[in-house]
Symmetry: D2
Subunit: 342 residues, 4 copies
Amino acid sequence: MRVGVLTGGGDCPGLNAVIRAVVRKGVQEYDYDFIGFRDGWRGPLEGVTVPLSVPAVRGILPRGGTILGSSRTNPLKAEHGVRRIRDNLGRYEVDALVTIGGEDTLGVAATLSDEHGIPCVGVPKTIDNDLSATDYTFGFDTAVGIATEAIDRLHTTAESHMRVLVVEVMGRHAGWIALHSGLAGGANVILIPEQRFHTDRVCAWVTSRFRSSYAPIVVVAEGAVPAQGEMVLKDGSKDSFGHVRLSGVGEWLAKEIERRTGKEARATVLGHVQRGGTPSAFDRWLATRFGLHAIDAVHDGDFGKMVALNGTGIVRVPIAEAVARLKTVDPALYAEAGVFFG
Amino acid sequence: MRVGVLTGGGDCPGLNAVIRAVVRKGVQEYDYDFIGFRDGWRGPLEGVTVPLSVPAVRGILPRGGTILGSSRTNPLKAEHGVRRIRDNLGRYEVDALVTIGGEDTLGVAATLSDEHGIPCVGVPKTIDNDLSATDYTFGFDTAVGIATEAIDRLHTTAESHMRVLVVEVMGRHAGWIALHSGLAGGANVILIPEQRFHTDRVCAWVTSRFRSSYAPIVVVAEGAVPAQGEMVLKDGSKDSFGHVRLSGVGEWLAKEIERRTGKEARATVLGHVQRGGTPSAFDRWLATRFGLHAIDAVHDGDFGKMVALNGTGIVRVPIAEAVARLKTVDPALYAEAGVFFG
Amino acid sequence: MRVGVLTGGGDCPGLNAVIRAVVRKGVQEYDYDFIGFRDGWRGPLEGVTVPLSVPAVRGILPRGGTILGSSRTNPLKAEHGVRRIRDNLGRYEVDALVTIGGEDTLGVAATLSDEHGIPCVGVPKTIDNDLSATDYTFGFDTAVGIATEAIDRLHTTAESHMRVLVVEVMGRHAGWIALHSGLAGGANVILIPEQRFHTDRVCAWVTSRFRSSYAPIVVVAEGAVPAQGEMVLKDGSKDSFGHVRLSGVGEWLAKEIERRTGKEARATVLGHVQRGGTPSAFDRWLATRFGLHAIDAVHDGDFGKMVALNGTGIVRVPIAEAVARLKTVDPALYAEAGVFFG
Amino acid sequence: MRVGVLTGGGDCPGLNAVIRAVVRKGVQEYDYDFIGFRDGWRGPLEGVTVPLSVPAVRGILPRGGTILGSSRTNPLKAEHGVRRIRDNLGRYEVDALVTIGGEDTLGVAATLSDEHGIPCVGVPKTIDNDLSATDYTFGFDTAVGIATEAIDRLHTTAESHMRVLVVEVMGRHAGWIALHSGLAGGANVILIPEQRFHTDRVCAWVTSRFRSSYAPIVVVAEGAVPAQGEMVLKDGSKDSFGHVRLSGVGEWLAKEIERRTGKEARATVLGHVQRGGTPSAFDRWLATRFGLHAIDAVHDGDFGKMVALNGTGIVRVPIAEAVARLKTVDPALYAEAGVFFG
């Protein structure tokens, strides 16, 4: 039996840990052969492969990124995409696919499995932790750790200069990273995409913090938006070199706070450092266990399923269900954090 | 309403985060007063207190240890212990106690609450993660992270010198830290207290690792023991200064491996560094949420209960149930890790 | 004898370590009294003080920022600045000042000491390491460490997506942080303010890196500028909220690389995280030794002098000389790094 | 021209960074060929080689250990050692050797170069920083950083339990790691091999620290010894398995402190974690520059020389001089730290 493996979407610490666990257990326990497909769905679509064996996965557990490369290629939008995948799987004599990715990558896996009979098992991956049906996804803990360390560092600058520091963290549609790192870092305001924020209220919290002789840290998810009418984030105009101007919510908010409160404010946009580098111990553990259980699912012929974390155990759920809706921050959970605002 | 807070047992990263959350929410949402008791149950037993207020908990979130001090004092073994506690609570006009601790500290809280009507709410704390009824306890993730980083470092020494490195981690009765850090660190053998190990089998794994031109890392929990008859760890003899000789399992095992395989072997005992220092982001999040929910339980008059993590949510369980039995590593879970041995 | 202490300019890891060493040795060895002045030169100018004693400096060694606060107030530009400082020093019975700061703060100290007979001793502080007469300044090693860790993380993202990652680090006038972190992080291009860069050459390096199947990291100091005519960094225009648009060199360069090479490129601006948080061991050591030697200089009545690192020893140099010129990266040193470009 | 490279002695973070720099510059600037010798002097002695090229050194900059392996083989003590080395160099057509190592490895290089005309250039390596003629050696900063982080962590445990914590760090003959990490970590006592310590005085400092309501950290180099007559560290006796009992100075001291002061005391022996893992940014910088200058020395035909750090510059010194005497801690420097004791 030969199993193909691919990783799709944005890179995420822990991908290599999954690949290693899949291969180690597959070879040792089930005597499988493996083949790696390059760059997500581009691999099976275009027939681009890399050898995948026990020696190939040695030493990759602590390394970020993915040895298989990644892309956002959607084969369902490519001409004859399904047929080309089927042909390439046949050509390489691949009996099953382990697909590691987020909403998009797994959405394809669900369709291929459920509608076209191509045997896929899914492993959930999203640094934003916004995938339903699993308590956590790997990469998230690493990102929260990096963001929290940054917030720890920014506290000392804020205090020394009595300045507002706005930290923009990842999270386009869900505020999980902002909420966890904001709570862990002792932020004074946390803003998430799930609830439009009122800049005046943010300014009131900021001002109140200064009154107790401390300087505030505001953590804002990149996807957080102010209440209607307050701003146009991207005005679409271009600079003298023809580059479109982008002004992220972090920088916008820092300027607004400075304008409204009269206090100096600075923005820090953490960006890509949140998704790179060695995975945290938690993420290595989770990714490894996902890998072990994914290859078990292949062995059981349980296709169209995704492995998921449920409490401390790993379970299987239909991929289609898992990708059906985004997991966003519950209003009650967000309200819980409110006690620390201001 | 005045609430007393105490921390008992071994120190653990996240204790201060719990205290801060309890006080912040108690003051802000419920308008409570607080008083800190020093050194676990010694505080209410002997009437030793410290002021506890919002300013007192500022800046303690990222700090390890506990601002309240800790001890292993058991008031149930002290003369008139229960009466003295009741008297002191009366004297300081304390209406409820938030007790943060492990099996012993919480066992006392259960007895005081259930049998003597002294209103206690419990917050579980054990760096070893061996408390039932909660998915995880805070401190554990930090300890696993520190141990994993150490294992990462030891790999390079092992490879450079083609040497066996034995790492002894915490875990007297349960192998959680060994299992998690061993898996996350890519150890080649993991030994836990739950299953007696056969040194010959360990040596076989070690030898097999060398055959593929790599050097092995063996992670062993301090409470792991060899199969019967293999060793007497502590021989009770004394050195020339009257000190009893202690030889931990890590050092014993390194010597045995060297003796049996002929390969150089060294032991590293991580010790106290695993329990100190700033808590990981995960532990700060968990400890903070435990604190918020503990003070809610006080507000609800829900005494004799302990807060616990269940999946991603915080629930309440009877303290007495939680401390009734140790949570050890499931044999199936340990077997899962076996694919990486050797 | 009473000694005043102040910290001026941008905050920097190690300031608290200096303060602690000054006070600990001053009290213990010389039996001095201390007084802290708030917010750099604003303190003595406006007579704003804080108590400073052995208990006040306990536990501050590992903490970033400064317990005395900081500002960029220049008393020489204030009306009757010198007289007001002299009056306030008299009022608080201060016999000497330990002034910790960069070019500006120390420049004032030199003038006050040399021209007005106000007894000042200087301690050099600049995260950019661009102060003459000392091998290194504290804070620099911490900043380089943080930048290097970020570059380590970005490598994995660059490789996984075959993308160019541009990292903008601190360094307005000198490229020390870029050079050290670029070398330490294995960057493929390093750009510093001391030498205008040619974007076409940068693009050639980037392209060559891709040819060997790896993805490039470009480290650029915030003060690096392209060769004449290539760009106008800040166009002075405003967005719809009246905010002036700033486009840093990092983002500009990423866009240019993408435009010219056709490869995806992303910018990360590390910003304030480089200057906050706990100092590295090296910086704690250097800052502590600076503090010990600064109070020795006070004791020797050796005013107008600054402590400086020379090899492994601490020496004293005239402040006026030290601030006379900026320490920039030597072209030969920069050329040495060139072997790693491309 | 073909250059051989070898690494000898204990492993040390930064070895790979040296190798990479040597090869990168040698290939690119001087068009040299390279060959790696395995396991220090064992390689040229027994003719064991590995290929060494630009692809072979990719990605090794941040990795601890050495890709060439290491050993303590002394070819001068092997039969016909010099002749065998000369033969093997001839057989592999090696024109010069870059030898990276400590006192022993470099001592051999000096003899081979000076007395036998075998062209060697040296790169100093000792994690203990005890090599003369260079301000610092790479690996030392990493070790100090790891030890400092451990001390930071232990402070919180010491405070929470009002316990003495003794930390044993590396340093058999010189106290550099103890001195630097002790100062950086805010230790209350630092003990080094250069000065015999009086346990009673240590106990007095410990007691004084408790009087001001804090718990003490004692940092002790593994090679520190008490004043004559106080102890016999290793009694040479054996346990029931025939293992010789070793009781390090850290554990001995903790027991003695406990016995004499009545305060609980615990020892932590950091051990091998200090020498493994990724090098600090400073060490990567230093190691990289050593490598670049070592290959320059080869190119200049400047054999029998070692590269060394002098201030911020790299210089060349005769290897024979550098290894002639150990660099120990100056009594004046140690006295400087004394202000923080107690």
